[in-house]
């Protein structure tokens, strides 16, 4: 067995007594669907045909919404937007495993997860068009707004899990982040805290191999990201992130462990960022087309489609129908979004505190007066 490297050499026979192995750990990898859509039936999650199709339909919708966002940005109708292309399985599979009462803390790349959490498509466009109203969470939902400062939402998710446990609510918290986030101090402080108090939280790392232009090899010398859980004394698992069934199964299991008081789990989903980091990035500057092509072969949707076809759950007409419906939903969302009247400048001040402070009232009035005096900067 492979020893923790380095001290192997130092081990000579007859040292058993005072130089001994005191802890052993192992990290597992889970794949249920291989790249050709062949399924390991031993592991297949208990999903009925309709649910299988829902997974597919969410992934198609996620990709459609994402492609449109990209187009809109290029047409100047959205600001900088981070594409989820290639990560549909991680996002849909994990979100599909959640109960509505569970909480999610997304980073900025999880449009695919939010729609499964029934966050309005319209508002996704609204947010990326530069309108704060797009990060308002509908009342019946337990989703925290997206977080841009990488990793800073992790301790917050842990705090929510702490509160849920203290209140005895039978829910779990799911927090999304990337491979780059695992290098941040907040990742460490958050996971460590969750371990110490054995909190109902699932840490879902979308290891898409890149942090803008920085490859995984520059984020860590560890063989896997899943093994970071060992540092915190809880379970870690690596999953094929382009296998929607594996992601679903692992997340489901981790959420159940969380809800039943078995503590946190770190799930590393191995996937790939097929697009540029954001619409403001150009990935050809730092990675090869060859690498991208290798991953295209592992496309999460195509793989799942093959599986469904084998099971008789997919045929051309069905595929066509789903695609058309997705396009329609996205069209409607874009229309709705673009017909929303511009935000009220007063909103800049209104939400700083529950009640406007004296200073803010004064600043707002001066500002509105200036606008009135033809000093409106628009």
């Amino acid at each position: 067995m492979r020893r923790n490297q380095g001290f192997v050499r130092a081990l000579r026979p007859g040292q058993a007594l005072r130089r001994r192995v005191i802890e052993k750990f192992s990290i597992e990898h889970l794949q249920i669907l291989d790249e050709n859509g062949n399924c390991d039936d031993e592991l297949r999650p208990l999903l009925n045909d309709k649910e299988i199709q829902r997974l597919y339909e969410w992934m198609i919708l996620a990709r459609t919404l994402d492609e449109r966002a990209f187009k809109l940005q290029r047409e100047g109708r959205l600001r900088t937007y981070p594409s989820l292309l290639g990560q549909e399985a991680v996002q849909v599979g994990s979100a599909f495993a959640l109960e509505q009462s569970d909480w999610t803390f997304p980073s900025y790349r999880e449009a695919g997860a939010s729609i499964v959490r029934s966050f309005p498509l319209r508002m996704i466009y609204q947010y990326w068009a530069g309108d704060e109203r797009g990060s308002w969470t509908p009342q019946n939902q337990n989703n925290f707004p997206i977080t841009i400062p990488v990793g800073t939402h992790i301790p917050i998710a842990v705090g929510a899990a702490w509160a849920a446990k203290a209140k005895g609510d039978p829910i779990a918290v799911l927090v999304y982040f990337g491979d780059g986030a695992t290098s941040k101090g907040d990742f460490h402080e958050g996971l460590n805290f969750a371990g110490v108090f054995s909190l109902p939280v699932v840490f879902l790392c979308q290891n898409n191999q890149w942090a803008i232009s920085v490859p995984l090899s520059r984020q860590t010398a560890a063989q896997t990201l899943a093994q970071k859980a060992i540092a915190y004394g809880f379970a870690g698992l690596q999953v094929d992130g382009n296998d929607v069934l594996a992601v679903y199964q692992a997340t489901k299991e981790a959420l159940e462990r969380a809800r039943s008081g078995k503590g946190p789990t770190l799930i590393e989903c191995v996937t790939y960022r097929m697009g540029d980091h954001t619409t403001a990035d150009d990935a050809t500057r730092y990675r090869t087309q060859g690498e991208v092509e290798q991953w295209r072969k592992k496309d999460p949707i195509e793989r799942f489609r093959k599986y469904m076809e084998k099971r008789g759950l997919w045929d051309k007409p069905y595929g066509q129908k789903i695609l058309t419906e997705a396009k329609e939903q996205v069209d409607t969302a874009v229309k709705e979004h673009e017909s929303i009247p511009p935000p009220d400048p007063r909103d800049i001040f209104r939400y700083t505190f529950q009640d406007l402070s004296h200073d803010l009232t004064k600043q707002m009035e001066t500002f509105l007066k200036a606008m009135g005096n033809g000093n409106d900067k628009e």
Binding site: E132, W136, I156, G159, A160, W162, A163, G190
Partner: protein, 324 residues
């Protein structure tokens, strides 16, 4: 009963915890040991491990976890052991706590209190004497509160706990036990955002807060003996600032001195002068003076007394302003 500031803080915490089952306390050494200054003494015993939490040594997580608790519906009161260790929690405070209401357009808010002993003068080791209020005051979305007496401490802490937005509650550790004062058992609160006039006067306005109030008052008394009648204002809340009380006073006295421990440049004193300039310039008969720490690191015990404003330095500032 007569209490010290630290006892008043403890009383406020206990009484609010009795009232509000959602109030939880978290921080380093706040539980079993009752806090390095004993501010949380007895709370673990009374309320148990779920409501009084000794955390790992993680300032960023202490504030971050408190934010998550608040978003979920609890009322966390976090403690950062010394202000010098707050820097590690700045990102959580500025990029998350202070913005949640704005960025979620009111859907979520963040009613946390972060208690933190601040300031010098107790011969503490390095990094134990910071006074970084200007950082907090400059950060949109935070309220900043500093009691100067036991009575103020209880009333202001209760208001801070009940406030729907994030509050930094700075505790002047130099005077934690300096004086005892009658502090009612009964529930009372002192509204945030209001300065108080501690001494009425007509010749010059002295503005201070926290541990600087005592030398300032003392200097005022000495000035009175010389026939100068200073008005002394205790800010109590550093943000939102009670500009009105300050301006009203300065318009009458036409002179002012601001006293703070923090380094001079870009300290809160500068903001007070800016507001006086904006609203009372024509009333001024002398430049507003600042009695502050130097633009240097707070020295270790052998020299910290050189650094901190004291009665003498306030007195000479008063004289300079009066003689201007």
């Amino acid at each position: 009963m007569p209490l010290t500031i630290v006892e008043a803080v403890n009383l406020a915490l206990r009484q609010e915890m009795e009232k509000d089952p959602n109030l939880v306390i978290l921080g380093e050494d706040v539980g079993k040991s009752g806090g390095v200054f004993r501010a949380t003494q007895g709370l673990l015993e009374q309320f148990g491990e779920i409501r009084v939490v000794d955390t790992p040594l993680s300032e960023s997580a202490i504030v971050g976890v408190a934010i998550g608790m608040a978003v979920y519906g609890l009322r966390p009161v976090a403690e950062i052991q010394f202000m010098g260790f707050f820097y590690g929690a700045m990102e959580q405070l500025v990029s998350q706590a202070a913005r949640i209401r704005t960025r979620s357009r009111g859907r979520y808010h963040c009613p946390i209190v972060v208690r933190v002993p601040y300031g010098g003068g107790i011969h503490a080791p390095e990094h134990h004497s910071e006074s970084m209020e200007a950082f907090f005051v400059h950060t949109p979305g935070l309220k900043v509160v500093v009691p100067s007496t036991p009575y103020q401490a209880k009333g202001l802490l209760i208001s801070s706990i009940r406030d729907p937005d994030p509050v930094i509650f700075m505790e002047p550790k130099k005077v934690y036990r300096a004086t005892r004062e009658e502090v009612p058992e009964e529930d009372y609160s002192i509204p945030l955002g209001q300065a108080r006039v501690v001494l009425d006067g007509s010749d010059i306005t002295l503005i201070a807060w926290g541990a600087m109030l005592q030398p300032t008052l003392h200097a005022a008394k000495l000035a009175q003996e010389k026939g100068i009648h200073p008005e002394v204002i205790d800010l109590c809340t550093l943000y939102p600032l009670d500009t009105e009380t300050i301006i009203e006073s300065v318009k009458r006295t036409k002179r002012a001195v601001v006293v703070h421990e923090a380094p001079r440049t870009c300290g809160l004193g500068a903001e007070l002068i800016a507001r006086i300039n904006e609203e009372a310039l024509l009333y001024l008969e002398a430049p507003v003076e600042r009695v502050t720490g130097f633009d240097t690191v707070m020295p270790l015990p052998k020299m910290e007394h050189y650094y901190l404003p004291d009665t003498k330095s306030v007195v000479s500032a008063i004289n300079r302003v009066m003689e201007f």
